[in-house]
């Protein structure tokens, strides 16, 4: 118990951070059918923008301004590139966002350098929130949870309670219908893409300060959020939420468990010497591949994902 509890809190904090990214990706995918490879790159830009703004104007200004910048950038990308590619199908869109990943990473390296930048939470967030089971829970992790809940709540309100949200929801269900009702579907696409990008920007502005802001941060998170979106079920926000916490928690839990596969399979001992290398692995060493195993398994056995309404 003494380390399961902090591990659980960590998992929630990390899982919510992942969810901020996965939610935007899911939203964009369900509306436009575009799997935005560069979503994690927008997260990285959020962190770097926030870092640069924070150095001039302070952390809190950066926290607000950086996501707005990223959202604007996302809208520009949608408006001026993706929309034109849309006619040619999803593969060119996928290829374009993939190329964007490369280019954004290189731009970040050229502008901000190859190493990590010193982007940290401000002193007022550096303390301890509370102490339980002999471990301190740092305030900045609580802050992540707070920001994630607040921004997701705002998105929920926007979509569920406003007129624009109503049109967005209608467009999600049936874009042709919305078009025929005289709404500009193109504008809705741009808006939603900007919203997703903005969420990634917020996640970056917060995540970069709490974790680390470096050129590799996009690559590290990029594939994980795909796993989440697929495992949760493409297009399902609820699924993305559960999968975020699941994958976020998986790592913490596996690290906490000190078992080797050979211990689990004791009864089968002597089955095969060829498997020794596999059996000698500790659960924590399996942590990096488990999400991918999960993703492949889901796609093979339950293509809709855990909560998806339609097949991937």
């Amino acid at each position: 118990m003494d380390f399961i509890f902090p591990a659980a809190l960590n998992a929630i904090s990390y899982g919510l951070l992942l969810f901020m990214l996965a939610a935007g990706l899911t939203l964009v995918f369900s509306l436009m059918g575009v799997m935005n490879f560069a979503h994690a790159s927008l997260y990285m830009l959020g962190a770097y923008f926030a870092y640069s703004i924070a150095r001039q104007a302070g952390f809190w200004v950066g926290l607000v301004a950086a996501p707005l910048l990223v959202a604007g950038l996302g809208m520009l990308i949608e408006r001026h590139v993706l929309r034109h590619l849309h006619a040619r199908g999803h593969i060119p869109e996928l290829l374009f966002t993939f190329g964007l990943v490369l280019v954004i990473e290189e731009i970040v390296k050229l502008v901000w350098g190859l190493g990590a930048v010193d982007y940290r939470v401000p002193p007022e967030l550096r303390g301890t929130l509370f102490e339980a089971f002999g471990t301190r829970f740092p305030m900045h992790k609580g802050f992540v949870i707070l920001v994630a809940l607040a921004s997701l709540g705002a998105i929920w309100w926007l979509i569920a309670r406003t007129r624009t949200g109503l049109v967005v929801r209608a467009a999600l269900a049936n874009p042709a219908m919305v078009e025929s009702l005289g709404h500009d579907v193109g504008r809705i696409f741009t808006l939603v893409f900007g919203l997703g990008a903005g969420l990634a920007g917020i996640a970056g502005a917060v995540g970069g300060a709490v974790l680390v802001t470096e050129p590799a941060m996009a690559a590290h998170l990029g594939t994980i959020i795909f796993v989440i979106v697929v495992v949760g079920g493409l297009g399902s926000i609820k699924g993305a939420f559960i999968a975020s916490l699941l994958i976020g928690g998986l790592e913490s839990v596996l690290i906490a468990i000190d078992v080797r596969l050979s211990d689990l399979l004791m009864p089968l001992k002597g089955l095969s010497s060829g498997l020794d290398a596999v059996l000698a692995l500790k659960a924590s060493q399996l942590a990096p591949i488990l999400p991918y195993l999960l993703m492949v398994a889901v796609l093979v056995f339950r293509p809709r994902g855990l909560f998806g309404e339609r097949e991937v």
Binding site: L94, L110, V111, T223, A277
Partner: protein, 400 residues
């Protein structure tokens, strides 16, 4: 009886004799006294081209966008390394010329295992599954250092086995010929597959997989068979990379290696017979030659990829064949009148953009263009670049 024009994938249109002569010249590069460096670069082009040909079967023919093709390439490379190091095989007298077959078998085996879960789906889900499988295998490499040599990889010696034709292939010129011939053979196999009934079905799955099913043909079975072929060819290409580098490490199965083949295929031209070769040549030149002049080479490469996706869906070979076709119609003078202004504008804009980037980013390092131009040069160049872009836009309007 009516004559049907039968499907001919990969028609070059340049005249078979000319193409054959050109390829023969390339294979015999060592005879012209090319230095070891150029031979190694050449071998790299051949290896990457063979790899890209296998990918072209998936992406170019069947529209299967894989992000995990390095799995097959890498496993083929590892199998080849183990085969080269194996005493038993040496004792059995396995000639080094046959090493690519080992890689081919490994690639095929891997495709049997991983092909099934990935080819059940097409489109975006296929891309995601292949990405997941790619990450999975790459992560496994570091977990089982016994099999894969850990991060140091597995070293080998291509001269460890004797050959049928040459006594051994230690020397670069002999290795070059071996690798070039094998790569040509692999490329030819890939192009052959495109012309077979499987190739026809591949194009049909890309066009409309659901319709194919209603014709009585299971699209996932077509994809699976293609994956087997592409996996085997990629495995053989991986074995060629082992013969070239004499070391295999985790980078052979990495996401970067999977991305490379995608970039090469798209930039070269996803449907053209020479696309993979041109793509491999471009990547090698940028990676090994351009990278000596600027740190920003990856940026330029990524930018080139994006521009290709946006403006030249048929890749560089597409541009070349368009130009050749137009040249035949318009003649030299007509070409100059028609394309002179846009090409000049594009070149100028490109050069000025590169200059701007080099100065802006490498000021304090003092490399590349930043060494000659003063700091305000960047501002001037970027203005010039903007003007050139406007000119480009105007001249393109003139074209349309």
């Amino acid at each position: 009886m009516m004559r049907l024009q039968l499907p001919r994938a990969g028609r070059s249109g340049y005249g078979a004799p000319a193409v054959g002569a050109g390829l023969a010249l390339l294979v015999l590069l060592p005879l012209f006294g090319a230095s070891r460096y150029w031979l190694v670069l050449g071998m790299q082009v051949w290896v990457l081209a063979a790899y890209a040909y296998s990918y072209q079967l998936l992406f170019g023919r069947a529209g299967m966008l894989s992000f995990g093709h390095a799995v097959y390439f890498g496993l083929g490379a590892f199998a080849a390394a183990h085969a080269l190091n194996s005493r038993a095989l040496a004792a059995m007298g396995l000639p080094v010329e046959m090493i690519p077959l080992i890689g081919m078998l490994a690639g095929l085996g891997a495709a049997v295992v991983f092909g099934f879960p990935s080819t059940r789906r097409a489109g975006t889900p296929f891309a995601m599954v292949t990405l997941g499988i790619g990450e999975l295998v790459a992560a496994c490499f570091l977990m089982f250092p016994g099999f894969f040599g850990g991060e140091a990889g597995i070293s080998t010696n291509r001269a460890a086995l004797g050959g049928w034709v040459a006594a051994n292939y230690g020397a670069a010129d002999r290795a070059y010929v071996l690798i070039a011939l094998w790569a040509l053979a692999l490329g030819a196999m890939a192009l052959w597959i495109a012309r077979t009934p499987l190739g026809l079905l591949a194009r049909a799955t890309r066009d409309n997989a659901a319709r194919l099913a209603f014709c009585g043909i299971e699209p996932s079975a077509v994809r699976f068979r293609l994956m087997l072929v592409a996996g085997a060819l990629a495995g053989a290409a991986g074995a060629l990379s082992t013969l070239l580098n004499e070391i295999v490490s985790v980078e052979s199965v990495s996401l970067a290696m999977s991305a490379n083949v995608l970039l090469m295929t798209v930039v070269g031209g996803p449907a053209h017979a020479f696309g993979p070769l041109l793509g491999a040549l471009t990547l090698t030149l940028m990676q090994s030659v351009l990278s000596r002049f600027t740190h920003a080479w990856v940026f330029y490469y990524g930018l080139m990829f994006i521009l290709t996706v946006l403006f030249a869906p048929n890749g560089l070979t597409g541009i070349v064949s368009d130009v050749l076709r137009n040249a035949r119609q318009l003649g030299a003078g007509g070409m100059a009148r028609r394309y002179g202004a846009p090409v000049a504008a594009a070149l100028l804009a490109g050069l000025l953009a590169i200059g701007t980037i080099e100065i802006a980013f490498f000021r304090d390092e003092g490399i590349g263009a930043a060494r000659v131009f003063p700091a305000w040069g960047a501002a001037g160049l970027s203005l010039g670049c903007l003007a050139a872009l406007l000119w480009l836009r105007r001249s393109l309007r003139g074209l349309a």
